[in-house]
Symmetry: C2
Subunit: 347 residues, 2 copies
Amino acid sequence: MEQLTIREIAKLCGVGVSTVSRAINNHPDINPETKQMILDTVRQYNYVPNNSARNLKRTDSNTVAVLVKGVSNPFFAVMIRMLEQDIIGRQYLFVLQQVEEEENELEVALQLTKEKRLKGIVFLGGAIRHDERLLRQLSVPYVFSTVNAELPEDGGEEMRGAAVAIDDEAESFRMTEYLIGCGHRRIAILTAFAEDASIGRLRLDGYRRALETHGIAYDESLVIHMDRSLRTYTMGSGYRAASALLDSGRDFSCIYAISDTLAVGACKAVFDRGRRVPGDISVAGFDGLDIARYYEPSLTTVEQPAEEMARETIRALFALINGTPTAGKYIFEARIREGASVRRIAQ
Amino acid sequence: MEQLTIREIAKLCGVGVSTVSRAINNHPDINPETKQMILDTVRQYNYVPNNSARNLKRTDSNTVAVLVKGVSNPFFAVMIRMLEQDIIGRQYLFVLQQVEEEENELEVALQLTKEKRLKGIVFLGGAIRHDERLLRQLSVPYVFSTVNAELPEDGGEEMRGAAVAIDDEAESFRMTEYLIGCGHRRIAILTAFAEDASIGRLRLDGYRRALETHGIAYDESLVIHMDRSLRTYTMGSGYRAASALLDSGRDFSCIYAISDTLAVGACKAVFDRGRRVPGDISVAGFDGLDIARYYEPSLTTVEQPAEEMARETIRALFALINGTPTAGKYIFEARIREGASVRRIAQ
DNA sequence: TTGTAGGCGTTATCAC
DNA sequence: GTGATAACGCCTACAA
């Protein structure tokens, strides 16, 4: 099938290419009848303009891209939906771009910016710190969303980036403190693999600080790292880790998992051993996913304010796009959503 | 920040643009030293080629796109991972393209094909029947994956499309028959909105046929359609629908939900009313998601052979790409994965 | 209101 | 092994 070009449509309609271009791009300076005739022909032959050629020629595009590292992360699923809604609500085009695990999101951003003449970029997930040189190369406004990433120092030039997130360390501290407040002293934690330098690290740090604050010794044997060779935040990982922990004979009354998916797996491991949540073992999660609400028992979790964060992400991005002065960081407070998975122990 | 082009790199290196092009594209006919020098400069200035220009000029690209309608569907999450792995394993580029709910996936495909010179397309989700005229316009091989879509009649020309899926109607029949075999007679079904013409329809059809086959009257009052204004396959939808059903006082011993997410919501509705699964109400799902395994009780579900389907999707696609004769349809058998959510009733 | 022509940044073809 | 140069398909001055 030979590819239809604008030239052939022009020939078919007996007009020049610019007239066809005007018609399909809704330019005002064209005779309505000519326009209609052209659009009819376009429909009839199902002509589809080549986007690469368009992007190449265009200088701007009213497109905002969301670069997400890990599309299948259920927490991102709700963020993506909200971001999309807000971007489209502002009459911008929304582009969702998946970033592979081993890819550098900044390089993808640089490439996509050139390719699509983006107006702005939202990073969902990804690293906490980036190559500052690359970051400075990024010529369009950007917002790190749900990850409290480092922003480049203000070198006198205008700010082009922002970060919208929760304070993972502080929220993890909050949850651990809550668990301690419920009377738990021996709290095991399911966290990312040992070398993790992202939220896994931060949430572990918060846990540790809370223990120390309350005079509880940090016990390495209660810190369970996920297997690096497996996907980290899955129910299967949580199940595996909690199973090993339960079978080890170590003493603990509570499992704190740094994601709800891990928590679900942990619960199942408890059940499979004929024990009860929270009767025998308490379990807490993190994120505030749907499943935490619908699991039985419902999971006590740290609920991230996804909707507000998405809204603020877009607000901040468009503030940057429009040159409005904007603070660089927006740290939201999460809150403990109490479920029925944590038992209060008489002190 | 002025955009760096290949011409400037050429000038910087004191060579012609074609030499730079050869270097960055790994062409053999270039002096290794020149190549190294150019690549160093490219790195140093962080030159990123413009993809639009590349795509415009290139005639082919070794790229396979996966067009997914509903990225956040957890069943697709595992399919996407497997598809990606297999595509990359064949040394092809993998592109994931989200299709909006109201968009026509075929139009997106047509556009993307022009834009990126695709070698092949995988459709994940979407409609069962497509505009045949559009389908014939599609000039590259394609596979409908997980949806048993109609293929155009062989009009003498070579086949360009295939479909890899389960038989939703038959599998739903199988599950319903299984539930009947467990002694259930009054089986409520949670299904898509009434006008659905996709898997919701097929799974409902299978349910109905099974009832009729076994001489059980089809009772409209036990058929619960999701609210069209809400997102269909969410735990919240399942919870809402099951709650209304439970509160209606209608008589039934089993809820069959056409997705695991709906089933989870249904279970929670049962629990919230102080009743038990499966003691008081049995619940069955569909898809075979992780959550069905890790829920408590684990959910009896129809397990789709995701891995095999993904593998076959890519195999069929590359058979089409390579011109190997290929059957058009690959229908996989699903299987009932028994959990603990369905009770056997003494007959 | 419409048509012609030049150029967007790259790759491919051809000389050298 | 290397360098001009002509496309790729579209948009947009500018001219008519």
